[in-house]
Structure formats: C-alpha cells, structure tokens
C-alpha cells in the first residue's frame, strides 16, 4: 500500500544515489528498499506526533 501522494519520491532518491555510485537496481530491489524507508518514516512521524508538546515555538508561528 502506498503511504503518500509523493509515493515514488523514495524510489527516485534511491535510484539517483545508486546511479551516482555507478550501481543499477532492479525495480523489485528499489521497491523493497523504498517500502522499508516509507514504513520507518511513518513510524517516526507517528512518534513525533505522539511526543508533541515539546515544540519550542508558539502555536501562531507554526
């Protein structure tokens, strides 16, 4: 399941980094890595939301 509208962003970033390093990835490899990153990012965003209240800026600035 795709997690965001920008859902191929991770695949593009992985592909770009791999190309710069002279590596070629299969579509399947790229997708597995991107899915792992998306899951991790989602967990961190949830943690960030759960621990909110430590935001150093007043609400009107955010």
């Amino acid at each position: 399941m795709r997690l965001s509208a920008n859902d191929d962003k991770e695949e593009r970033l992985i592909d770009a980094f791999a190309s710069q390093a002279g590596l070629s990835l299969t579509q399947s490899d790229r997708q597995i890595l991107a899915d792992t990153v998306r899951r991790l990012v989602q967990q961190v965003r949830s943690a960030d939301a759960a621990l909110e209240g430590d935001d150093p800026f007043p609400a009107y600035l955010t």
Partner: protein, 456 residues
C-alpha cells in the same frame, strides 16, 4: 595454572604477573595458541598479531622485571574490534574497501591501552563498517557463537564477544550504535558496557553514525569491565552518584510486553527475583513512549551513515557488501525533514528518559528479546509474530543508544538449551559509576562465573 589462564580475572592475572608466577609472555602465548586453535570454528579474528604481540609481551616482562610495573593491565592480552585504528596494523572495519588500510596512528583509546601496557593480540571480526547485529560478514565470513557454533554471536562487535567468551584475551573494545556491544555480550554470555555517550574518545574509530556511536568494553565480569573503564577514563572512576544500600530497579512495563522469547523472559525474571531476595526494590513504570526508540534510532543511524560514507561509496560502491549497500541506499531516501523529526523525537525522549530516574537507580530489561539466531536466518517467529532478526535483536537495546545513557549487559543465566541470557541495566547520563555498582550487586546475586562455553 596453565589450564585456568584463559579465564583468570584481570585482577588475578595482574597478581600472577606482579608476583612473577606467570609472565606476560606465557599469558600472551597461551592466548595466541587458543586463538589459533579456535579460529576455524569461531572465525572471530580478521587479523591475528602473533609476532607483534609476543614482542610487546617480552617488553612488558622486561619492564616489570626492572620494577617498572604500570598497573593492572600491564602485560594483559586483549583484542580490538577491527574498527579501531592501530598504528602499523591494517584496520579493515570488516570491509573490502579498507582491506589494505594501515593507519599511521592509534585510536585515542588504543593509545591509552598502550600506555597502560596492555598487549594487543588481534583485531576482531565485525559486521561490515559495524552495521548489523549478527556479524554476518560477506568479506571475512560470519563469526560464530562459542556456546553453539551454528548460531550468531550477535553484532556488530560479535568477534570481540566471541573471543572474550572463549577465553581469548581478558577483554575487548567494541563500538555500540544501536546495541553493538550489549547484543553480542548477551549472545555470548559476557559483560558488555556502553558508557555514557562522550565518556570515551572516538578519535581514530571508523565511524558509522556520529551522533550515536559509542566506544564500549566487553569483558568476562563487571569488575573487569570497571578496571578497563578506569584505565581508559580515569576521570570517570570517581563520582558521587553511587547506589544507596537498597537498589531501586525500574521495569518498563510496556517494553516488557513487546514480543519476547518465553525462555529469555523466564531467565530474566528469575534474576530480578534474586535481586529482590537480596533487598532490591522493584518499581513497575509505565513508559509507553519507550517503544519509539527503535524506529527513530534506526532512521538517524541510516541517514547519518549515508552522509558518513557518501564520498567513499561514490568511489568504491561495488566493493561494498549487500547489507551496508542497502543501508546506505535507504539512508539516501530519507529527507532532511524526517531526520529532523527523528531528532525532535530524540529530544523529547531524552527528557522523559532522564525523568524516569527520579525514583529509581537503574532500569532493567532483557538485552535481547530472542535467543541468538542461527547463522544466515533473517526472520524469526517471536511470540507468534514474524519479526526481522535486526528488530528482534535490537528491540531492547535501542533505548539507551537513543538517549546516550550508560547501559550494561551481564549474563543472568542459561536457558534450557544451555544458551546464555543477558540482563541489561540502564542509568542516567553520567551515571556510569551508579551503573557499575548496580551491576556488581546484580552479578553477585545471580552468581554467574565466567567459564568455558559448551561450543569450544
């Protein structure tokens, strides 16, 4: 005497050297012979330093003969995870990329051990660039667990823990980014100490993640770990943060409800019960936020390791192994805004984690949630759930990596299969002395004595 040499404590070995019952040359020769004999089964070394170690041992013997005794570590054999720079000795970091790198200078902690007169006998196997919890190294082969050679020794300092557990050298230095000292110590039935972040210098250590990497100590007892810590950071050996007469132990309720092997849980709880019988007080603490350490620590580590390796990876990507390559590619897909979110989580997390210690001395957890997996396995079933080996091994160690708090794993018993289980203690930042005192108390209650593992 020779039969017991490999498992002498540092204090006992120092006494035999000082009283000239055993010479440093005999100790080092014995450790080297043991290393050579066990290497085909354990694969715990990348480089063994036979000639250099014997030269250093002869030098130590001559100095001691002339009355120039330097202290407890003088003439004591030890090993180093192969991520510490050693002048004139190749330092591979478990990689092919650095396979021929011979540093000109010692890492700062190695220089301190040299001044203390300790004798380096070998550089130990590690996951490539210290990334990975199993020491499954595709360039140098997997290190193996001395309690059961079909199982991993944990990682990434797996070669160090396997060597110490097998009686090769009195101690080893490793590095811990997400549990890489404590995990292998637990898997191999030895003590793994990760001091407070910043306590030990990282100068000259091949880096993985600059905000998380911590130099740690692997030894066969809490007392031995303390002696090495005193030698590396004498300024930390005094402090006013000791433990009161009745130890107060916190148990984080929600973390302990995470999937965990029932045998690990049973052995851990039996050790806590023994601590209670000796007067410890137990506080059950609700800390539901504690589970956030695992993903946020991973994200920071992946992002930073990509940044650390970027230049070298561009030039040598094809020499990188699969595991580290995947990690760096995933790090490249993490945006700055998500790295910042993880840092925010960390900031909030540290505040909560320090607050916890207002009513207790130490937190206690199993070190690993599972028994050491079989070599080559990537997924496990734990309490009816499929879990990656990486998450299963690191579930309980990420907490202290994330906060920078000092943490220690000590053996707390054997499972029915005869595999060691590690008990992890965590103290507040700067509370290294408190941690060591609490660990000594628990170790005394458990009654664990270092001995030769079944697999060797």
């Amino acid at each position: 005497m020779t039969d017991s040499l490999p498992f002498l404590t540092i204090k006992q070995a120092a006494e035999t050297i000082r009283s000239k019952k055993v010479s440093p040359v005999e100790l080092v020769r014995d450790a080297l012979a043991r290393a050579r004999r066990l290497q085909p089964r354990l694969n715990c070394f990348i480089t063994l330093l036979e000639d250099q170690a014997l030269d250093e041992a002869r030098h130590a013997e001559s100095e001691i003969g002339l009355g120039r005794y330097r202290g407890d570590l003088h003439g004591i054999p030890y090993t180093l995870k192969d991520v510490f720079a050693t002048a004139g000795v190749r330092t591979t970091a478990g990689s092919r990329v650095l396979g021929d790198w011979i540093p000109k200078e010692d890492a700062a902690v190695v220089a301190r051990l040299r001044v203390a007169g300790a004798v380096l006998i070998g550089k130990t196997n590690t996951s490539e660039f210290a990334a990975g919890p199993t020491t499954a190294n595709e360039h140098y082969g997997p290190a193996r667990n001395p309690w059961d050679v079909d199982r991993v020794p944990g990682g990434s300092s797996g070669g160090s823990a396997a060597a110490v557990a097998a009686g090769i050298g009195a101690f080893s230095l490793g590095t811990d980014t997400g549990g890489s000292v404590r995990m292998p110590a637990a898997a191999c039935g030895v003590v793994g100490l990760k001091p407070s972040i910043g306590c030990l210098s990282r100068r000259g250590v091949v880096m993985l993640s600059w905000s998380l990497d911590t130099v740690g100590i692997i030894a066969r007892s809490v007392e031995d770990s303390g002696r090495v810590l005193d030698s590396l950071a004498p300024e930390r050996s005094v402090g006013a943060d000791g433990v009161p007469s009745a130890l107060r132990i916190g148990l984080p309720v929600e973390l302990l409800e995470e999937p965990c092997d029932p045998e690990v849980r049973r052995v851990f709880m039996a050790a806590i019960d023994r601590a209670c019988e000796r007067g410890a007080q137990i506080e059950r603490l609700s800390m539901s936020w504690a589970r956030h350490a695992l993903p946020a620590n991973n994200l920071i580590s992946w992002f930073e390791s990509r940044a650390v390796h970027e230049r070298m990876f561009m030039a040598h990507s094809k020499s990188y192994g699969q595991a580290i390559r995947r990690r760096l590619l995933m790090g490249a897909a993490i945006g700055a805004e998500d790295y910042c979110a993880a840092l925010r989580v960390r900031h909030a997390f540290i505040q909560r984690a320090e607050h916890v210690f207002r009513g207790i001395d130490v937190l206690a957890l199993p070190t690993l949630s599972v028994l050491p997996p079989l070599v080559g396995v990537e997924e496990l079933e734990v309490a009816g759930q499929r879990v990656s080996v990486i998450d299963a091994l690191g579930r309980f160690t990420r907490f202290a990596s994330f906060t920078g708090q000092p943490a220690l794993s000590l053996p707390c018993g054997l499972t029915g299969e005869g595999l060691p289980v590690g008990l992890q203690l965590i103290a507040p930042i700067g509370g290294d002395r408190r941690l060591m005192e609490a660990a000594r108390e628990l170790e005394a209650g458990i009654g664990w004595k270092a001995h030769c593992p079944a697999g060797v």
